[in-house]
């Protein structure tokens, strides 16, 4: 690289050209610095060695090298091309299945983002899990209402289609706005406290999307018109996915003030609980279940009357 001193040898360079060349050589020096996006990730990797060893073991040293190299090359397409968005769908079937499995089973040492997402966040999982959940809740709510009024000729069965739009709004805003708020909050705290772990927005969306998967079987179980069964299934689902969320985000906030860390964790859990309980209460009316034993009794005769009286 030519420095400004060499230019004095050439008499034809006047001051103007000298300045221009110096400026361009400064720019050239700027370009030689590596991609700044790689910096925080490299920091994470270097300081990761000082953390517990199970993190390193789980990452697998060879793979982490490869992923670091690939990160810089991955999202190089400008955002107005189709290829840019294709990078968010760069997953195979078995990868998606692995991520779903990882979201159901919270392992105390393993971090969902580190283990499964590994700098390859995808939008396929979150989008289609949310879509499935929307339709699962709407259809299950419909079926449970139908079963609750089964045998009563007075109540005309209507498929309540407007509930689909309400469910879609609620679930998609949870899956996108809460990660946005959390990401903004973590970014803000990152400026105050030097956190070791920082997640990108897409990784947070990924975690939230996959954590909603466990509610799909729970929504199917809610068809059963038994109130204790519904509450048990909702509590189990909330515990599983809530613990995955907590385990994922605890490394990101544990270096913060104790109170702020606890407050963040409880807010995450609170929103999760709110979504589940809200969906259950709105789409599955509790009073249907208390009426069912009487309906069954009226249909099947005297045999079930004692049980209805007892309950």
């Amino acid at each position: 690289m030519a420095s400004a001193d060499d230019l004095h040898d050439f008499p034809e360079f006047d001051a103007e050209n000298l300045n221009l060349l110096a400026a361009s050589s400064r720019e050239a020096t700027a370009i030689s610095i590596e991609n700044p996006n790689n910096k925080p990730k490299k920091q994470r990797r270097v300081t990761g060695a000082t953390q517990k060893e199970d993190d390193d073991d789980l990452l697998g040293n060879g793979d982490s090298d490869k992923t670091e190299l690939l990160v810089g090359q991955k999202k190089s397409a400008p955002f107005w091309t189709f290829e840019y968005y294709q990078t968010f769908f760069d997953v195979d079937t078995n990868q998606v299945l692995d991520r779903i499995k990882g979201s159901i089973v919270p392992w105390p040492g393993k971090n969902f983002v580190r283990l499964y997402i590994r700098s390859n966040p995808d939008l396929y999982g979150p989008f289609w899990i949310c879509a499935t959940l929307v339709f699962a809740i709407a259809i299950s709510g419909n079926i449970s209402k139908f079963l609750a009024h089964f045998g009563k000729p007075s109540k005309h069965y209507v498929p309540e289609f407007h509930k689909v739009t309400i469910a879609a709004t609620a679930i998609y805003s949870y899956a996108w706005l809460v990660p946005l708020a959390l990401w903004g909050f973590l970014l803000w705290r990152n400026t105050k406290v030097m956190n070791i772990v920082s997640y990108s927005f897409l990784e947070i969306v990924c975690v939230y999307g996959y954590s909603l998967f466990v509610y799909i079987p729970a929504a199917v179980l809610w068809i059963i018109p038994n109130e204790p069964v519904r509450w048990i299934s909702i509590v189990v689902a909330m515990c599983l996915s809530g613990s995955v969320l907590v385990l994922t985000f605890w490394p990101a906030v544990r270096d913060d003030h104790h109170r702020i860390a606890i407050a963040t964790m409880s807010t995450i859990v609170a929103f999760h609980v709110l979504l589940a309980v809200g969906c259950k209460e709105y789409f599955f009316d509790a009073q249907d279940t208390t009426q069912t034993p009487e309906t069954v009794a009226s249909l099947t005769g005297n045999k079930t009357l004692p049980t209805a009286k007892a309950s």
């Binding site: 294709q86 195979d92 289609w128 499935t132 005309h156 069965y157 498929p159």
Partner: protein, 233 residues
Amino acid sequence: MAEADESNKPLFAGLADVSISEDIPVEGQITVPVGPPAQDDEYSTLDEPVKDTILRDLKAVGKKFVHVMYPKKSSALLRDWDLWGPLLLCVTLALMLQGGAADKKDDGGPQFAEVFVIIWFGSVVITLNSKLLGGTISFFQSLCVLGYCILPLTVAMIICRLVLLGGTGTVSFIVRLIMVVASFSWSTFASTAFLADSQPPNRKALVVYPIFLFYFVIGWMVLTFSPSPTAGP
């Protein structure tokens, strides 16, 4: 050659006086191949009777219906895609799902616009999904296939309405359930037969699942259709 240049240069302004020097032999043959005038050029489709135009398009649509009902890996559906068939099917299905009486306040069935939006928006989302996952099919080909494969569900809807004319008891429900399940699996199988080849092999399940969900939702709408009660307030 120089003479030609000399004669050409000053005469360039007025091309009428261009002359070729006699030293340069110019020979050859100039013939314009005039074949018989092609019938299509003379006979544009503007001149044909309207019946022919409509019948030609209807025949194309009908041929594709046959391809859907007996799905084998033929590329006819993909090659000559058109969106008339999907539009016809979508409008028919949406109209038939309007069963409730207009004066019923709590008619919770899907409105015409809702059915329309679900079918078209759902098809667009599935097509985008398969393209983003690396599929090689074109946008409109995929829309065409997804739209045509609604045909079994439309047939099921017609049969369900006929069954519902006979009553709304458990028997009719079971019959309708069997019909809808059969046609929904037929639709999914047919569209997968057409679309599966254009996907990368390790992502086939990722592409098939949204198609399954799409036809499941449409099947659900067909199954839960209940006509307005004939008597009552």
